[in-house]
Point group: C2
Chain length 408, copies 2
């Protein structure tokens, strides 16, 4: 595990107070899968009638638990459901033994909780390629089941951490038809964060009622604007999983409700940005706003090219307003750009326009701006109405320290 234990300078001041989501009970435990002296397994049990939607890594080498979840998502939702997550071992690239581990764990969860095995979802995060000691998890399931409680989301957020330096949670509450509907979620992830998805595990719960197909459609569309718009190092994990569970316990049907959709997207974006704020070695949080692209897809391609460029990211680490590297990243992205229509700004400072440095640009202004912790880089292509915003962090010595030494 990483030796770096200092909390990211970009972390929120404290873990937020999360509301209880009716229909969800959780528990965490220290099973010693790999880590010692901390919790490393969480169990969530969801009341009958909960819709479960999911999005997963598109990696061709995805882990056994991801494959199992993908096979189960979209099934009937009348019975109860369960989510079991362990940290310390990703059960990825573990051959047929990996499937055995998943089968053993899911069956044992079904036995203990009474949830049908076809509704038991698991995730594993941590080291790749080592057989998972699933018997350690199975041995703790009775205790976990006995400890289930409606108010244990924060503990769950801590149990699923790996190289994270802080636990991540977010919530929103919306009034619909005179009733309150709650949404609360937790996430883990700090490195290997890139579209599509990354070493990221995200679990979001709501007491709204939304039918499974509609919930899935919502989740997929919003993932493209939130979790698929963040990047730490362009690397993509074999284990990424985002599950969204709607218990319906509020009795409020939220399908097609715009306020609910906005609140859900806000929770997703909040969690996604927290993941970037925990980017390995990060000292700056960077929003890249691309406008004027030929279309939205091109805008995202440009945004991610900038966000993933090691030269841009190291310049930000060095507090250097090196807009030439932004030009370089746009040029290499492969999406449409016209050098002479391009404009670039750092915060409110117009740096370059019409293919050259802006006449009013003073480097000392931009250099002062770059000393801030939260930065905005604006790029206007001058070509059309396409736009996209992506989020990333800088590339620092801390990233090298963590990743040259960590066997993850």
């Amino acid at each position: 595990m990483a030796k770096i234990t200092k909390v990211s300078p970009l972390a929120p001041a404290a873990f937020p107070t999360l509301p209880v989501i009716d229909g969800v009970r959780l528990a965490s435990i220290a099973a010693g899968v790999r880590y010692q002296g901390r919790t490393d397994v969480m169990l969530a049990v969801l009341d009958p009638g909960t819709s479960v939607a999911g999005v997963f890594t598109r990696s061709a080498t995805r882990s056994a638990p991801v494959l199992d979840c993908q096979a189960k998502i979209g099934g009937a939702s009348d019975g109860p459901a369960a989510i079991l997550v362990n940290s310390g071992n990703s059960n990825a690239f573990t051959g047929h033994y990996g499937q055995t581990s998943v089968a053993e764990v899911t069956q044992a969860v079904a036995d203990v909780t009474g949830v049908p095995v076809g509704r038991v979802f698991t995730s594993s995060t941590g080291v790749i390629g080592e057989p998972m000691k699933h018997e350690r998890i199975v041995a703790k399931l009775g205790d976990l089941n006995a400890a289930l409680s409606p108010d244990a989301l924060e503990d769950a957020a801590r149990a699923i951490m790996t190289t994270d330096t802080f636990a991540k949670g977010a919530s929103r509450t919306v009034g619909i038809d005179g009733k309150m509907v709650k949404i609360a979620g937790i996430a883990k992830g700090s490195g290997m964060i890139a579209p599509d998805m990354a070493t990221m595990l995200v679990y979001i719960f709501t007491d709204a009622r939304v039918e499974q197909g509609a919930l899935q459609a919502m989740l997929s569309a919003m993932t493209d604007k939130t979790f698929n718009c963040i990047t730490v190092d362009s690397d993509t994990s074999t284990s990424d999983t985002l599950l969204l569970c709607a218990t319906g316990a509020s009795g409020v049907d939220a399908e097609g409700n715009a306020e609910f959709a906005a609140a859900l997207e806000a929770v997703m974006l909040d969690l996604a940005q927290q993941v970037v704020r925990d980017g390995e070695g990060a000292t700056k949080f960077v929003e890249i706003r691309v406008t004027g692209a030929a279309n939205d897809v091109d805008a995202k391609v440009h945004g991610l090219a900038i966000a993933n460029s090691p030269l841009v990211k190291t310049a930000i680490a060095g507090e250097d307003p090196n807009w030439g590297r932004v030009v370089m990243a746009i040029g290499k992205s492969g999406a449409a750009a016209d050098r002479d229509l391009l404009s670039i700004s750092f915060g409110d400072i117009l740096v370059a326009e019409k293919g050259w440095v802006s006449p009013n640009y003073r480097e000392e202004d931009a250099a002062a701006y770059m000393k801030g912790q939260d930065l905005v880089i604006g790029v206007d292509l001058g070509l059309g109405a396409g736009k996209s915003t992506v989020w990333t962090c800088d590339l620092t010595h801390g990233y090298i320290e963590i990743n040259a030494d960590y066997r993850s």
Copy 2:
């Protein structure tokens, strides 16, 4: 300019002795474009009848000199030709003023050398977005022209350096029809090295006779197997230029000659690998051999995904045989892969096969291997006959040091 002046640990022991290429005369000079106390401009004048072929960055924000070269390549080759290169300023993203600089310089070279302006090729490398003091170059052209000499390639290699820690040269000689044909080239580049092309300038000269169209076809095909197979940081420069000049002075027609082609490719690969060996902060030279892919294109996609992965590159820096990150990179590449058919080796050590760690694998063996300076990572997809080899270096604190501080 970079503060790092220590020569890369991966540098060749010495600059090679390069043969004189008949039909080529060169000179270098200190013009003070940006740097002080060193040469920063080189001029090459090529005898009438020289064929000139070129490949260039595909960046959408390419520099004014690149655009000018691209417009000129492929024209008539009866007259003489000239190449003028400056370091210190890339004349990229300098708006219309950039074109003015190119026009001023190329016209001045034509005036001084007698080469038609349509055959005067220029390259500029260095800082982006600052107007180039082209008058400093123009002021030195008379002295440069007077100093032209057949034996000045090494000096030229030094004049075009920016963050390079060593000058790069390579040559081959082949016998064709009882006569010797020579090929010699120089290159610069150390960061922003990635397909297609990078902050790389390469000039290769031969006394073989090859008609322009055939020379261009050869160059383009070989670039895909050499310079487009190397990567330092996945970033692509706005200025990359590779010019290949065949003077014909040997009197030997080398068109279609396999030995000549092999020798030319060897020079190109030698220079390409030297660029990787000068990768910013590099301490390890890494060859990634992908076999068994569905096709050659897929093999290259996998190879570059591995070569560009920050997690793979930091693991190599840490001498950690973290093959799980290789699996991750293959998974995210987008090209076809089947987890359970994949095998991975480090040098001769079979690490993983059939989707899991090899039964005979001992981590201490791989850990010992990773301490070497030149490493080979082998990946067999088990899918087909597609193969590709790419070259990269590790990602170290040195890269961060150079790029967080260097205004390039």
